[in-house]
């Protein structure tokens, strides 16, 4: 693989991002454009931006790697990732758009009239956000290492510095256009290689017998009902608890277009997941030697040069590298913006300078964590973030939108119990502390019991502190659900 081409692709993506970010605002020269400009973005444009921010390293590199590793089991991940938007659409997209709050802590504070609940929410947002950034940095490390041979830390440091600087320099003036550009770039960077590779291998004999590659027991018949249901629950509920998802819905002019946008998002990310899964299956047929947890995530990067020797393979590889970098950039900058907002408001007083400091801090902390850890199973590490989000923030968010009786104490108790239960499960399953098969399954995929636990705790504690339902709860809830005038 040509390192020069790959580096050129990375630089090109960066330059395009910065140019669109800083100069991408459409400049209108006549007063008539005022009307056009004030009509806000179209749903499809906003949907591209949301999809661009959502498709992360985990889906760009990790999904194909997971398909290579575990076959059809892995398909539950894209199903859960995209169906999460269905729940978002059904239950929270429009009400939260009407709430006027741009972040989850803001919403919790306004809804529950409690600074304490806000602080706890912020803490969870911060932890979830950092955990989500780490796999992005790992993805960058893998990519740089595989395509250029440079040591892995170069990739993570580069992406952390770039993201930190861009966000600290005042963010991008036209973040919507940048994210939309990243979506189409990622779609191209996955779509073109898939088509070209399929054409190239269409007639070639498979490396091994397909019956070995897709054995019956790893098909739908061999799946464990509990594990699958639990994983899907985590992915479904986790999406709405991610810190960077909520804020994008404000670009929509009203609740109705927020819903329309969500529908388009589901179509757009599904299209991408289809391509990405196909890539994994090609890998399963033609690169079975990569099916090892340490190398599986690099399958997307390595496939083109294996199947297409020569310039064509190099070009396709460079395209994929460009798409991968768009994925790291889009997701981690979206997250850093959200987290820096939380840190600067809750700890540093919310000035512009505080925001800059927070941006640097929020890019540095995950970088340190990246150094201390070894990349492995990007899709799985992101899966864990979904479990934590689904067990802590999502129940409180759902109840806050739909249940008038929620109190600050209930929300805090629910978040802490749910979050601690999810983390505890991770420790137990990771160190293999239990042996019984039922217990192993319960701790491997804990969402099926941590989410009900969090909901039950929230409801019970809220009922116990019924007298402390904020006085303005009724009015705020009616604002969330009444149509805009």
């Amino acid at each position: 693989m040509s390192a020069a081409l790959a580096i050129a692709a990375i630089v090109l993506v960066l330059v395009a991002t910065v140019v669109i970010g800083f100069y991408g605002l459409r400049i209108s020269r006549t007063t008539d454009d005022l009307l056009v400009a004030s009509r806000t973005v179209r749903p499809w444009m906003n949907a591209s931006a949301i999809s661009g921010e959502y498709l992360s390293a985990a889906t760009f590199l990790g999904l194909a790697g997971l398909v290579l590793l575990s076959g059809t089991d892995a398909f539950w991940f894209p199903i859960g990732y995209s169906a999460g938007y269905l729940l978002l659409l059904l239950f929270v997209a429009a009400p939260l758009r009407r709430s006027g709050a741009r972040t989850i802590p803001d919403f919790i504070e306004a809804r529950l009239d409690s600074v304490g609940a806000r602080r706890v929410t912020s803490l969870f947002v911060l932890i979830i956000g950092w955990l989500y950034i780490v796999p992005q940095f790992h993805g960058a490390a893998i990519t740089v290492n595989v395509v250029t041979g440079l040591p892995p830390w170069v990739g993570s440091v580069a992406i952390a510095v770039i993201v930190g600087v861009i966000v600290a320099a005042g963010g991008m003036r036209s973040i919507t256009f940048v994210q939309a550009f990243h979506y189409w770039l990622k779609l191209t960077a996955m779509g073109v290689p898939v088509v070209v590779l399929l054409l190239a291998v269409g007639t070639a004999p498979a490396a091994i017998d397909p019956a070995l590659i897709f054995p019956r027991e790893s098909g739908p018949g061999g799946q464990d009902l509990y594990r699958t249901a639990s994983l899907v629950l985590a992915l479904l509920l986790g999406t709405m608890g991610l810190p960077h998802v909520l804020v994008r819905f404000y670009t929509n002019p009203d609740g109705a277009s927020a819903r329309r946008t969500t529908v388009i998002v589901i179509v757009m990310i599904s299209a991408f997941y289809m391509l990405s899964s196909t890539m994994g299956m090609i890998g399963r047929v033609f690169a079975p030697d990569l099916a090892d947890p340490a190398t599986a995530d690099s399958v997307v990067l390595l496939l083109p040069s294996r199947l297409l020797p020569g310039l064509m393979g190099d070009l396709i590889s460079a395209l994929i590298v460009a798409g991968a970098f768009a994925a790291f950039l889009a997701t981690s900058s979206g997250l850093v913006v959200s987290l820096a907002g939380v840190v600067s408001q809750d700890l540093l007083g919310g000035s512009v300078r505080a925001f800059r400091i927070s941006a640097i801090a929020c890019a540095t902390v995950p970088l340190l964590v990246t150094f201390l850890t070894v990349p492995g199973g990007l899709a799985n590490s992101v899966g864990f973030v979904f479990v934590v989000a689904a067990s802590s923030l999502s129940p409180v968010l759902l109840l806050g939108v739909w249940w008038r009786g929620l109190t600050a104490s209930g929300a805090v108790a629910g978040m802490i119990i749910g979050g601690v239960a999810a983390a505890f499960s991770l420790v137990v399953s990771g160190f293999g502390l239990v042996q019984h098969p039922i217990a192993v399954a319960a701790f491997d995929q804990p969402a099926a019991w941590t989410v009900p636990l969090a909901i039950a705790t929230t409801v019970l504690v809220s009922l116990m502190t019924r007298r402390r339902v904020p006085a303005r709860a009724d009015r705020y809830i009616s604002r969330l659900h009444a149509p805009e005038r």
């Binding site: 963010g171 670009t251 899966g383």
Partner: protein, 412 residues
């Protein structure tokens, strides 16, 4: 999940949590490191602490539900068993095991208007009542008795009597402060109402003249302009809501600029740079249009050959930054300083108006920033927080509540 991922995630969470707590602790430490102090100092801290807690609960007035909590703190402060707070309307809140004393308290409170200083009333003996004296001190606000603090005790100790009197006096002061808060909120609201920008007569006169000039030469254009005028006035005269969205405000500016262009012709050019995600930002009603009008009237009208106005909006951290720039005549910087400082003439009244409303609504750090010099054009910068869950674009009273956080009595 394999082990390395696990370790990654664990260390991640651990470091995240440790860092957050570390920062919080450091913050605490930096703010309030002090030595533990002597017993006397401890007593002072404790008293002050109880007093400040009770003060919170008293701010809503004697008839609010919070008084019960205040009574608990005051009882702890006085170190007595039973404490009652009676208000002028006949309501009595008792803290401590004192339900049996309710009628005694009621009979003392019934005569509160005749009382001017602390008095000790013997409690009629009855089974179950172990206290034999009631110490009653009036709470006086605005020269009238607004309520009473009644303490039940077994003996008539002079220190307790004196302390009760002091506590009643302190409660009076807190209630006055609470009333001050309420009147400040009312004042802020009245001020906002008064400050709500009005359409300038100058503009109406010019617009109507411009329309008149087209009636014979270009009737369809005149009709169009009349409709724009109608749109603009409907928006500006609307009665409900102190907030609007940037998109709506831009629509009104569109109407305004069309009318101005009817007069200026091609001499007035407009450039827009609006990041789409800022369009749904909540801004105070008519906070942008006066800035544009200021640019047209004071910047470009006085300049030969017209000029250009640039309006831009983009995200800046947790805020949205909106700027209005013109390449017109500019303003003397000292005049701007005087203007925003509160003095200054009738010129640029729009600027001052927007500046004081921004400070009213979002606090002093959100005042206007003006960059200008004579002959160098003017740039006015407006910062608005992105997230304003308390400011509804429809609700009329939302802002006063958001700023002063008054307890909402109508809903409770």
């Amino acid at each position: 999940m394999d082990e390395s991922t696990l370790i990654a995630l664990l260390t991640g969470s651990a470091i995240g949590v440790c860092l957050t707590f570390g920062v919080l602790l450091a913050w605490r430490y930096a703010r309030g490191s002090r030595e533990l102090g002597s017993d006397g100092e401890h007593a002072t801290y404790r008293t002050l602490h109880l007093a400040s807690q009770a003060a919170e609960n008293l701010r809503g007035g004697l008839d609010s539900e919070e008084v019960g909590r205040a009574a608990r703190h005051l009882r702890a402060l006085l170190g007595c068993d039973i404490l009652a707070i009676a208000d002028a309307g006949g309501g009595i809140v008792i803290d401590g095991p004192g339900e049996l004393f309710r009628e005694v308290a009621a009979s003392i409170a019934a005569r509160m208007s005749e009382v001017s200083r602390t008095q000790v009333v013997p409690v009629p003996a009855e089974s179950g009542r172990d206290s034999t004296y009631a110490i009653a001190a009036p709470i006086v606000t605005d020269g009238l008795v607004a309520g009473m603090v009644i303490v039940f005790a077994t003996s008539r100790r002079a220190p307790l009597i004196r302390a009760t009197g002091e506590v009643a006096a302190w409660v009076s002061a807190q209630l006055s402060l609470g009333e001050l808060d309420a009147s400040r909120a009312a004042l802020a609201e009245a001020e906002l109402r008064a400050l709500r920008a009005q359409i300038s007569p100058h503009f109406i006169y010019n617009a109507l003249n411009a329309i008149a000039s087209f009636i014979n030469t270009d009737p369809s254009k005149a009709r169009e302009l009349v409709l724009e005028f109608a749109d603009f006035t409907r928006y500006s005269f609307r009665r409900h809501g102190d907030f609007t969205t940037l998109a709506e405000e831009l629509r009104s500016i569109h109407s305004y600029l069309l009318l101005e262009r009817a007069r200026f012709g091609d001499r007035l050019e407009v450039t827009l740079q609006i990041a789409p995600e800022t369009l749904s930002t909540v801004i105070p009603f008519l906070s942008l249009q006066p800035l544009v009008e200021n640019s047209v009237r004071h910047g470009l009208e006085r300049k030969e050959g017209g000029g250009r106005i640039t309006i831009s909006a983009e995200a800046a951290g947790m805020n949205v930054q909106i700027t209005v720039e013109d390449d017109g005549a500019g303003i003397d910087p000292d005049a701007v300083k005087a203007l925003l400082g509160g003095s200054g003439g009738a010129d640029h009244i729009g600027l001052r108006n927007v500046d004081s409303r921004m400070r009213q609504v979002y606090g002093d750090t959100y005042g206007l920033v003006v960059e200008t010099n004579l002959g160098a054009g003017t740039l006015v910068r407006l910062l608005v927080p992105q997230s304003q869950p308390m400011n509804d674009t429809d609700a009329v009273k939302a802002h006063a509540e958001a700023r002063l956080r008054m307890p909402d009595r109508s809903a409770s």
